[in-house]
């Protein structure tokens, strides 16, 4: 029976090994989504996954900064599998609804007991934006923490989502991510 569970995981691992190309992000000014710049404090390894740009130090399942680079109206945050339906972004969403979009999308890809903490207004590169933190666990029962910064700019959704294992890995680069979010400047 174990093989039954392992099959898809193995395939996924192969797919990841075959596709993911990591590039070094050096600690100097970098343009994101052709919309804004950030100033990374530490070197990261970057790759892309659909609309997302993913930066990590120890591996994306341990901790990762994920940039959502301009999701259009009517599009889902995470790709649907087969006939499943996914929550979609609407350009008139309030930050409350966007936080709901994020939690429900995380739940759709297997996150459990997702909870939004401290949803608050916060400028995003000088634009009106929002911040919130996340608590959830993985399907394997590991606790994760996250923090999100974002804004809707010209009807598109931009997010910086940092998530990592609650034990050690999230805190390890939390400060670097805070500086990264503070460094956002519109081009």
């Amino acid at each position: 029976m174990r093989r039954a569970g392992l099959g898809p995981v193995l395939l996924l691992a192969l797919a990841v090994a075959g596709c993911a190309r990591y590039a070094l992000v050096e600690p100097r000014t970098r343009t994101v989504a052709d919309l804004y710049t950030v100033e990374p404090q530490i070197p990261w390894s970057a790759t892309t996954d659909d609309e997302w740009e993913v930066w990590t130090v120890d591996g994306p399942s341990l901790q990762a900064v994920q940039f959502l680079n301009g999701l259009a109206d009517g599009k889902p945050l995470v790709r649907a599998r087969g006939d499943e339906k996914r929550p979609v972004f609407r350009k008139d969403m309030t930050p409350s609804e966007i936080s709901e979009l994020v939690t429900d999308s995380l739940a759709a890809i297997g996150a459990r007991k997702v909870r939004v903490v401290n949803l608050r207004p916060a400028p995003f590169g000088g634009m009106p934006g929002f911040r919130f933190d996340l608590d959830y666990s993985t399907r394997d029962g590991l606790d994760k923490k996250g923090t999100v910064a974002g804004a809707v700019v010209k009807d598109r959704l931009y997010l910086i989502l940092y998530a990592g294992l609650a034990e050690h890995y999230y805190d390890k680069h939390r400060e670097a991510v805070e500086r990264l979010i503070e460094s956002v400047r519109m081009k």
């Binding site: 029976m1 174990r2 093989r3 039954a4 569970g5 099959g7 898809p8 599998r81 087969g82 006939d83 499943e84 339906k85 996914r86 929550p87 609407r90 008139d92 309030t94 930050p95 409350s96 609804e97 936080s99 429900d104 739940a107 759709a108 890809i109 297997g110 459990r112 007991k113 909870r115 939004v116 903490v117 401290n118 949803l119 608050r120 207004p121 929002f130 919130f132 666990s137 993985t138 399907r139 394997d140 029962g141 590991l142």
Partner: protein, 391 residues
Amino acid sequence: MRAARLPALLLLGLVAAACATPRHAPGALPDLRPGERPALDTDEAGLWMQMDRLEEALRTSGTLLGDASVERYLGGVLCRLAPDYCGSVRLYVVQTPHFNATMAPNGVLQVWTGLLLRAENEAQLAYVLGHELGHYLRRHSLQMWRDVRLKTNVVAFFSVLAAAAGQGYAGPLAQLVALGSVLAFSRDNEREADEVGFELMARAGYDPREAPRIWEALEREREAAGRSAPLIFFATHPPTAERIATLREQAERAYAPEQVWRVGRAEWVAATARIRPVLLRDELRLRDFARTAVLLDRLLAAEPRSGLLRFYQGEMFRLRAGEGDEGRALAAYERALAADDPPVEIHRSVGLLRLRRGERVQARAAFERYLAAVPAAEDRAMIESYLERLR
């Protein structure tokens, strides 16, 4: 209740002898005895060992609901149904919004929260649990496993299982389904399990007429959802017209009007009340609005005064956000506010919709009510910023 203490096996024997269908299909195995574990040198022990490993993974996974009082309650129903086996069956409540219950050969019984949201009373749950117990007692997994092995081999068995588990289910569900043996049991097995489930529930005093009712309700939901979104339970338990008709016949035969039957509606409502908001939120997260609409209509027909259900009906319209859904959502919220115990988040939802419609005064009033009701809300700063804009 002396009858309930007799070994279930014996009762089943008596019951089955009275039925038209033979108790065991050809090639069937003797029933599993209470507390029985297969001898170590058998293929059955090998199958159990695999399941024991999956059980270990299930136990530490993040998928369990983790509500001790609900587990105790369900365990009580299980023991009432099959007193001699309740010591050897381990019940796990898996938090996933699909309707399902599965039974692994080693006695792992999974009850998915989508079932807890959909059953309307204890008797309906008892029927489903009884059906799963039927597979367990009759060793249907072993039967299936031997049958497949005769025709192919072990590797093929597992790859078929893996393929079936992966078909149409999200990743996290695949393993859960595998643990419960996703391969459809044979039609004979299903009929036999239905028979056992039905007899167990009736013996325990549960109103037998509830058995076909849950099938009928699920069938309506499935039709609404269309082919695009199968209910997982149906993948392995096709609700054929024949099956529903058979259950109805059996129910009518077993039902004696002079007997006091247990439906357990009040017990069911009390036992599941606390987890219901979580289950409804999980259901909405699927964004399968057609099926959710049918489900909520059915639940509301039984509880027209439920502010909770009416609120989630409003949430469904708000999230669907189609033509006219804002108005539908607001109407549902209004009815919820006039009903019993609407959850406090309703004021936030009303505020968000009013805000979108530019109804400033009403938006402000709703947000103020929300903050007054939940002063320590996690989104307090955000709501205050909306209020700032509305001033």
